[in-house]
């Protein structure tokens, strides 16, 4: 009765052969194309390094001012702006300014890239059910696959460094913006779309004048989610060499520095709250014309 308690697997040697073949093939692929792929990511690296340099080399009062202005423009709320300032000053006082700036730079670059790639994919999914059925399982995999797993091939290709960390962050953080772009466009009022058609809009005019503006609040919710998930990934990204708050957390774990861990953890939370409140308030402001004020 052993065949009932032991699942009849393929056998050790077969499995080993499969592993060896796939690993070998991928190693071959890495050797053959590794350099050209790395070259392809050169602009991303440039973008990341420049953002980091900007955040760390700009005088801190100027950064405070820029953040205050951006938060104010997005939220139009004194409370949120003042809260952001308090959080940043506290972070500075506890000596985490530089790491925080690096983390913000990383999150910013990851979010921008997620938007650049995510929105067109989302639009594509909204336009065709076939593309949607193709992408949905891929997005599921990206969100549930443990990030260490896809870090393996990324590291094999790029080695340890900023770019593989960034790729891992983007893979993890891009699904919400894709999904919510798709959803937002699909939820656009059919009557308004019909009106756009009746006046003779081309596909592009329909997208630009009707679908995107009406889907924007939903897309903003996606961007908000993407930012949050990018921040959640900084610790994992630090394992492959991304500097910033995550690295300090990692150091704290390895050495059992309780205070260091808590402080850096709280700094991540603080940055997350600033991003979240500002982007949510912005999203809410975008919705103000769709709410019925007059019965």
């Amino acid at each position: 009765m052993e065949w009932l308690t032991e699942f009849p697997d393929l056998g050790t040697s077969t499995l080993r052969n499969i592993r060896l073949t796939v690993d070998g093939a991928f190693r071959e692929f890495t050797r053959a194309y590794g350099e050209s792929i790395e070259l392809l990511f050169e602009p991303v690296k440039w973008f990341l390094i420049n953002s980091e340099d900007f955040m760390t080399e700009t005088p801190w009062p100027l950064i405070l001012l820029i953040v205050a202005v951006l938060v104010w423009l997005a939220s139009r709320s004194w409370k949120i702006t003042a809260g952001s300032m308090i959080v940043l000053v506290a972070i500075g006082l506890f000596g985490m300014w530089e790491d925080t700036m690096k983390t913000i730079a990383m999150t910013f670059v990851a979010t921008v890239l997620a938007i650049i790639f995510g929105i067109p994919i989302g639009i594509g999914m909204s336009r065709s059910n076939r593309i949607q059925t193709l992408f949905n399982p891929i997005l599921d995999i990206m969100q549930t696959m443990p990030s260490f797993v896809y870090l393996i091939p990324v590291i094999m290709l790029f080695g340890i460094g900023k770019v593989p960390g960034l790729i891992a962050v983007i893979i993890y953080a891009i699904p919400p913006i894709i999904r919510l772009t798709n959803l937002g466009i699909r939820l656009v009022d059919k009557d308004v779309l019909e009106a756009a058609d009746a006046f003779g809009s081309s596909n592009w005019q329909r997208l630009k004048n009707v679908q995107m503006p009406l889907a924007l609040p939903t897309i903003m919710a996606g961007i908000n989610q993407t930012i949050m998930m990018a921040l959640a990934m900084v610790v994992v990204a630090s394992m492959v060499g991304v500097q910033g708050l995550g690295q300090q957390v990692l150091r704290a774990i390895n050495n059992q520095y309780f205070t260091l861990g808590v402080l850096n953890g709280l700094a991540i939370v603080g940055v997350a709250i600033i991003f979240d409140r500002a982007s949510q308030a912005y999203g809410k402001r975008l919705q103000r014309h769709t709410e019925v004020v007059h019965g």
């Binding site: 009557d191 009106a195 009746a198 006046f199 003779g200 014309h289 709410e291």
Partner: protein, 350 residues
């Protein structure tokens, strides 16, 4: 720049629409006489429109009336082909809309038609002015010209001062004025109105009907107006077509509909109508055989007005004159009152 469109006529010929997964497979059966119920039960396809033939003269208001599910909204969407027909022709001017390719259709929609919707369908993120210019904007008209036209029509529909408001700041009636301004700014010869006033309160609806009639005197567009309300149909329509279960059951002038309802279905509507305001003296007079008697009334006068004029003047008899003042018939006050109160059954009229 109120252009006098001489009016582009619309002629719908043998139009069929079947909804379902494979409409083309059943079109011949339907043409051979398969009923709506049979098509639905046996083949799970819905017969939306069946052999529609309507000639809409240019420059007039054609009302298509029917209850919900009669296919009236489907029909109006065939004119600018928001819905593709299963078979038939839609001739606008001298072009068949059904045969146009995507590019031609887009041009047709931009320059020949404008549409007003039951649920307004305004762009919520745009102001009244930005909504109104939409048609011209996508045509690529210079911004200055767009706004000039839009402002003129916004004023014309009574929304001056609201140009920079957003739709959600306006009441339903005002929103539909924006819908009307948007359609008029497009300056197309054909105006399609899909239950445009149905979502409005009765008083505001009357108000909007007056706005439309007023405008129409000036712009003379070919208006296709969809409604489920017979009073609205009679008030607006130069010609009325009545739709039931996807078929035209009767079409003609409003007087023809009221005086000679084609079947029990239509008579049941017509019974509720204030006949005194619809029927003209011309329809009930005795053609001139004797001397013209009493006071003159013009041929288009409706019964209610004629009765009031005659009783005010204390005259039991009147004679009907045509536009040149020539007498064409005699009228007895009893005739007038009888026509106002007798509900005509289709059986009596036949």
């Amino acid at each position: 720049m109120a252009e006098q469109h001489t009016g582009i006529g619309i002629s719908i010929k043998n139009l069929y629409k079947i909804f379902g997964s494979d409409p083309a497979a059943y079109i011949d059966d339907v043409k051979a006489g398969m009923t709506k119920a049979e098509l639905n039960d046996k083949h799970n396809h819905v017969l939306g429109l069946k052999d529609i033939n309507i000639d809409m003269p240019g420059g007039g208001i054609q009302v298509v009336m029917g209850l919900s599910g009669s296919g009236k909204s489907t029909l109006i969407r065939h004119i600018n082909r928001l819905i593709d027909p299963t078979a038939g022709e839609v001739i606008v001017g001298d072009e068949d809309v059904v045969k146009m390719n995507q590019l031609e259709l887009r041009e047709f929609r931009r320059h020949r038609t404008a549409m007003v919707f039951q649920k307004f369908a305004l762009l919520p993120h745009r102001t009244v002015l930005e909504n109104s210019v939409y048609g011209l904007e996508i045509q690529g008209v210079p911004r200055e010209e767009q706004e000039k036209q839009a402002r003129r029509w916004i004023t014309r529909v009574g929304l001056e001062g609201f140009e920079d408001n957003y739709p959600n700041q306006l009441s339903g009636g005002m929103q539909q004025r924006v819908g009307l301004a948007r359609a008029l700014t497009n300056d197309a010869p054909i105006l399609l109105m899909d239950e445009a006033f149905s979502a409005l309160d009765p008083l505001i609806r009357m108000d909007m009907q007056s706005v439309l009639l007023d405008l129409q005197r000036e712009i003379r567009k070919t208006v296709v107006f969809i409604t489920h309300d017979l009073d609205e149909a009679l008030r607006l329509g130069d010609r009325i077509a009545i739709l039931r279960d996807g078929e035209v059951v009767q079409q003609g002038s409003k007087q023809e509909i009221v005086l000679r309802p084609a079947d029990e279905y239509i008579s049941s509507f017509v019974r509720e109508v204030n006949r005194g305001r619809v029927i003209s003296v011309e329809m009930v007079m005795t053609p001139l055989s004797a001397e013209p008697q009493g006071m003159p009334v013009s041929r288009e006068t409706v019964l209610e007005v004629a009765a009031k004029t005659m009783t005010d003047g204390g005259e039991p008899m009147a004679h009907v004159v045509d536009s040149s003042g020539k007498p064409i018939g005699n009228l007895d006050i009893n005739q007038v009152i009888a026509a106002m109160v007798t509900p005509v059954d289709h059986a009596d009229a036949a």
